[in-house]
């Protein structure tokens, strides 16, 4: 009963949030809608007994990812409306719907069927966090480390990209020279 109510409530809220996020022309609306959507998604994780994942979702997305986005947005005038050329919305919408349906048909079909066996079955009686820890640090240790290294690399890349004076051209030539060359070549 509660689960049903909660599911539909969250589902509607998340869908609406994300829809606003992709359609609005106001960057702040998009950011807010996206953030609320991310936080609401953690609600699903709590319903699905993945408390740890839910908490991580909140912390990582709201605490880090979107805060970073917000931080990046401060470079731009966020109160101004985003001007975009309008493409052919119908084609885009139909394409996305089509691909989504296909994805579901192909990937979800075997999952819903019965012939799937759990590799790392959930053990009753111990908390989700502990289970996650056990599986993460035994079976998935190497991917975990790789992910850690990836994050480190991304962090360094982010620092280097944003920190260095990259507003000058990366090649030794400036833009006008490059443009001239392009003209000569073409």
């Amino acid at each position: 009963m509660f689960e049903t109510v909660a599911f539909y409530l969250f589902a509607v809220l998340v869908t609406v949030s994300f829809f606003i996020a992709v359609t609005t022309s106001q960057a702040l609306y998009a950011l807010t809608a996206l953030a609320s959507g991310m936080i609401l998604i953690s609600g699903f994780f709590f319903i699905l007994d993945a408390e740890f994942l839910g908490a991580i979702q909140i912390i990582v997305y709201s605490g880090a990812v979107l805060a970073l986005y917000a931080f990046g947005m401060m470079f731009f005038d966020t109160t101004r409306e985003v001007k975009e050329k309008k493409g052919n919305r119908i084609i885009i919408a139909s394409l996305s719907v089509l691909s989504v349906i296909l994805v579901v048909l192909i990937f979800a079909a075997p999952v819903v069927s019965d012939n799937i066996v759990a590799n790392y079955p959930v053990v009753e009686g111990i908390g989700n966090t502990e289970q996650v820890g056990i599986v993460l640090f035994t079976k998935y240790l190497v991917p975990f480390e790789v992910a850690a290294v990836m994050l480190l690399v991304a962090m360094i890349a982010g620092i280097v990209l944003a920190g260095k004076k990259m507003d000058v051209s990366l090649t030794l030539k400036d833009d006008s020279e490059i443009n001239n060359e392009e003209k000569v070549l073409s």
Binding site: T32, I39, L68
Partner: protein, 324 residues
């Protein structure tokens, strides 16, 4: 059904008490700061100025709610609510007192003992960032924008320290529930003795998370006017205020729960001492405001990334080695 009713009652009580406490907090702050500066503080409204809270409240509620022309109106309106709401959401996982029995009814002074309480509190307090962030960004005011940028930077940095410093106690306790923390400490002694570094780091980070004085740069009155709150007036501004003070109270509850033994074995004396500890931590927020200077944002970042975070990491590593 009784569970729902009990929880609802709990929620209402917590909301009411802490809304009132947030108001009282401002009164205490003014009084304590005044005493420390050899002043008297509010004295006129009511006996010893006690009704000042009511006066302020009336003022805030009746003041005109100004929405400036160039702001992003919807976000501008929502932002203060986020701050206040997340502050109260964080309270859901905090055991304010031990279970007790009154009039034959068993009372659980915790709204929901979820088993990832600490992560939940961290996360929700992190969400509280959005109030400041969005409020500042929507304000179309450069001071507000600077304040938002500072808020984002400070929160991102200090969440790292908070998380890392609290990791070592979590490793020792082996649970993320605050009730488990309390019980562990009742059995094994206070964590502050085994984890002094983590305690100090968490305390420092708590100052940053609540934006109190040594780190009072998000809404630094003398630098950037009132930061995110510059364009706000009336009750919207008041909501920011309530959020900040409620946050201070909740942090004051969390620190003793994690490090200072909480309410111990759950006796009446333990509860009393717990409240004393909480009061001390809240008082300390005010105390530092009177005594300490603010530091610059770059110093704050420096402190976080080059001093506190390495310390936290070393602490985690040492704890791990010792526990192995």
């Amino acid at each position: 059904m009784s569970y729902i009713v009990g929880t609802l009652i709990n929620i209402v009580i917590v909301m009411l008490i802490f809304s009132a406490l947030a108001g009282l907090g401002t009164y205490f702050e003014r009084k304590v700061l005044a005493f420390m500066q050899r002043r008297l503080g509010p004295m006129v409204v009511g006996p010893y100025g006690l009704l000042q809270i009511a006066a302020d409240g009336i003022k805030l509620f009746t003041k005109e709610d100004i929405i400036p022309q160039n702001v992003v109106a919807k976000i501008f309106r929502i932002a203060p609510v986020i701050t206040a709401a997340t502050a109260f959401m964080a309270a859901a996982a905090i055991p304010f007192l031990p279970d007790f029995e009154i009039f034959g009814i068993k009372v659980h002074p915790i709204i929901s003992d979820i088993n990832i309480a600490i992560l939940y509190i961290l996360g929700v307090m992190g969400v509280g960032l959005y109030g400041l962030l969005l409020g500042g960004m929507a304000s179309a005011n450069k001071w507000s924008l600077i304040s938002s940028a500072r808020a984002a930077a400070v929160f991102i940095s200090y969440e790292v320290v908070t998380g890392l410093s609290i990791l070592a106690p979590i490793m020792m306790v082996g649970s993320l529930s605050l009730v488990d923390f309390n019980n562990y400490q009742a059995e094994h002694g206070w964590l502050v003795f085994s984890q002094p570094v983590a305690f100090v780091l968490f305390w420092i980070a708590a100052f940053a998370e609540t934006g109190r004085t040594p780190f009072h740069l998000i809404a630094n009155d003398h630098e950037i006017i009132d930061g995110f709150g510059t364009e706000y007036s009336g009750m919207r501004w008041g909501l920011f205020f309530i959020g900040e003070y409620a946050n201070m109270f909740f942090i004051s509850f969390v620190i003793p729960l994690i490090f200072l033994g909480g309410f111990g074995d759950g006796s009446f004396l333990g509860a009393l001492i717990f409240l004393l500890k909480v009061s001390f931590f809240f008082f300390f927020f005010l105390w530092t405001r009177a005594a300490w200077p603010d530091i610059r944002p770059d110093q704050l970042m420096w402190l976080c990334w080059k001093v506190l975070m390495p310390l936290a990491v070393i602490n985690v590593v040492i704890t791990g080695i010792v526990m192995m």
